[in-house]
């Protein structure tokens, strides 16, 4: 939701980035204020996921120009774990499996690390168990999740719920959800989206990276951005997503090139 006088959380200016020497981001611009929900859409290969992972500090991506400020500070100079502790959360498109490490253990360590950073109370295993079970209800998760290895053998839907559970535990200021809707059936999508909606409030912001408009029926964005070839070429309100769903992406590119409004 757009609030009057809300703070700028994230500011991306002229961002260029490469992976294996190939330039993927070419002049990315984006401002996100607290309270807002942004959707970044675009065809395959437009750089959406690169942008999401780069904000989180994935080591495969190299910044070749521009700047990213998070709460006014240079985000790019922080190590990935420092970004996470500062309140940047990435919901993974493909959550990673970690065999042998119990989910409960992993979640508690992550939670306590972030709590410690914020000068808040850390929880022992028993206290944490009560706390996490409460949060799991939000996502209609079975408690046996806690005993299983992190994401190992989870279905696509279970993995995505686990991501949102982590968001619920870590209470990030900025949550970037990368294709959170992919691989979800309609019931799971409803539950996951419901979870995200409950976590959104005026002091945090959400950036949804998605291919399809479908997710945006459940999580209504304040802004919709279209990415192509490594930058945002069009920004609109939630109705833009519907238009994209109907007409595809090609016309946006044509319009951006010619500067002429292309009507259907």
């Amino acid at each position: 939701m757009i609030y009057q006088d809300s703070k700028i959380l994230l500011e991306v200016r002229g961002l260029h980035a490469t992976v294996n020497g190939i330039e993927i981001l070419k002049g990315m611009e984006l401002s996100v204020r607290s309270g807002e929900v942004h959707a970044i859409m675009g065809p395959n290969g437009s750089g959406k996921s690169t942008f999401a992972k780069l904000l989180a500090g994935h080591p495969a991506y190299e910044v070749s120009g521009g700047e990213v400020r998070f709460e006014g500070k240079d985000l790019l100079e922080l190590a990935p774990e420092a970004r996470a502790r500062a309140g940047v959360f990435l919901g993974f498109q493909y959550p990673i499996e970690i065999p042998g490490v119990a989910n409960s253990q992993f979640l508690r360590l992550a939670y306590n690390t972030v709590q410690a950073e914020r000068g808040k109370e850390e929880l022992d295993p028993l206290e944490f168990d009560d706390f996490v079970r409460e949060k799991m209800k939000l996502l209609e998760m079975n408690p046996d999740f806690l005993d299983r290895s992190v994401n190992e053998g989870f279905s696509g839907g279970e993995k995505k719920r686990n991501e949102i559970l982590q968001m619920a535990l870590l209470e990030p200021k900025l949550a970037i959800l990368d294709e959170t809707d992919s691989g979800l059936d309609i019931d799971a999508l409803r539950i996951v989206a419901g979870g995200v909606n409950q976590l959104a409030h005026k002091d945090n912001a959400i950036v949804l990276v998605t291919h399809y408009q479908r997710l945006l029926n459940y999580i209504v964005p304040d802004y919709v951005h279209v990415m192509e070839a490594g930058r945002i070429i069009k920004t609109g309100g939630k109705e833009l997503a519907l238009e994209l769903e109907e007409r595809g992406y090609d016309w946006v590119g044509a319009e951006a090139q010619t500067g002429v409004r292309v009507t259907p």
Binding site: A56, G57, H58, P59, A60, A79, P80, E81, R83, A84, R85, F89, L90, F92, P95, I96, I98, P99, G100, V101, A102, Q105, F106, L109, A110, T113, V114, E117, S149, Q166, L170
Partner: protein, 478 residues
Amino acid sequence: MSTALQNLVNQPYQHGFVTDIESDVAPKGLSEDTIRLISGKKDEPEWLLELRLKAYRQWLTMEEPRWPNVKYPKIDFQAISYYSAPKPKNKLASMDEVDPELLRTFEKLGVPMNERAKLAGVAVDVIFDSVSVATTYKAKLAEVGIIFCSISEAVREHPELVRKYLGSVVPVGDNYYAALNSAVFTDGSFCFIPKGVKCPMDLSTYFRINTQDSGQFERTLIIAEEGASVSYLEGCTAPKFDTNQLHAAVVELVALDDADIKYSTVQNWYAGDENGLGGIYNFVTKRGLCKGVNSRISWTQVETGSAITWKYPSCVLRGDNSVGEFYSVALTNHHQQADTGTKMIHLGKNTRSTIVSKGISAGQSNNSYRGLVRIAPTAAGARNYSQCDSMLIGERCGANTFPYIQVNNPSAKVEHEASTSKIGEDQLFYFAQRGIGAEEAVSMIINGFCKDVFQQLPMEFAVEATKLLGLKLEGSVG
């Protein structure tokens, strides 16, 4: 490999100091004279000298094993000193007479040599280079009939027991290094648990190699009579030298009817530097004989050190219904090489064995599991379960599994499972994205991976092993 991983596996070795102490070192070289010298220094009976010479003559006809998956230059056995003992070596009446320099050394290593010390809930036999320098809690253990002392002392005080069992599990000519050990062994621990006695405390031996160019050839013999039980721990460290040192030990365990021996090792010999210079060659023969019915021998090892490890703690399951177990974590980093595993020889009926092996490779190291499960025609109803898991850290290390299975009885049941996994950049990024740094992430992954083995270790050892793996891997993640 990313830098976070790199930094994590490259923690400096903490036990690499040398104790400045005057030692009585035999001249380098190996011959019958060397053996007579060792035997003479220890005032040994004639039968033991004969056993040594027999072993030596057999050794001369044997070839160094070439089948292990390890590479090293040929060892010059004439360039090694086979005896090194700190002076003065007069007999000690109490701990107060131990050279304070030695006490300080072991204090630094965290080995409780002082019975009054708070942490000392464990009886320790301390071996420094070639000799046992002290054994704690001897008197207390003697009250229940347990003999726990150095093997040299056992030869003097309990010759009938030593003569009966020494070489009964690992014959003098068993293999190249066992033969060498039988010829030149200098000291080690002896432990005898009489019928029906449950050992009231953990027993342990701490091995320390101090002198450059000396080899350590220790001999351990543990006997548990009918219904007896004991838990035995072993720890090892050595200073940092640029040259390689040879450690060729033999450990023999004998379990009679209903006896139970649990043998745990945390091996942290100096592994050489990050370029593979120096480090211990750890060529060890460990074997347990489940002689009696319903007996049980369990090996648990955490192998983190040594330039080369060549070691197969084994169980010969002769008694009906006897049980053999092998739980192992072997970690290699830098240029370390390990070829380790076990042998489970099923002879008796309804014998059971379990093998759980976890190999972790980092740096440019090479880690092999080699295991034999043999079911003899006599072993009706025998069962084995083996699980061999490998984990790779980085791109330049290797892991191999060589399981040998020989089943000669149709009623036997043998299962083997294996897996290979990798700590990847993506896993570490996932942890990092949740605020967790690389070190904690790796330690969590490794502990998860090794859980089944660590559960088998006595409490304090498990804590130490967990810490040790963490230290060893510092700098390897990145």
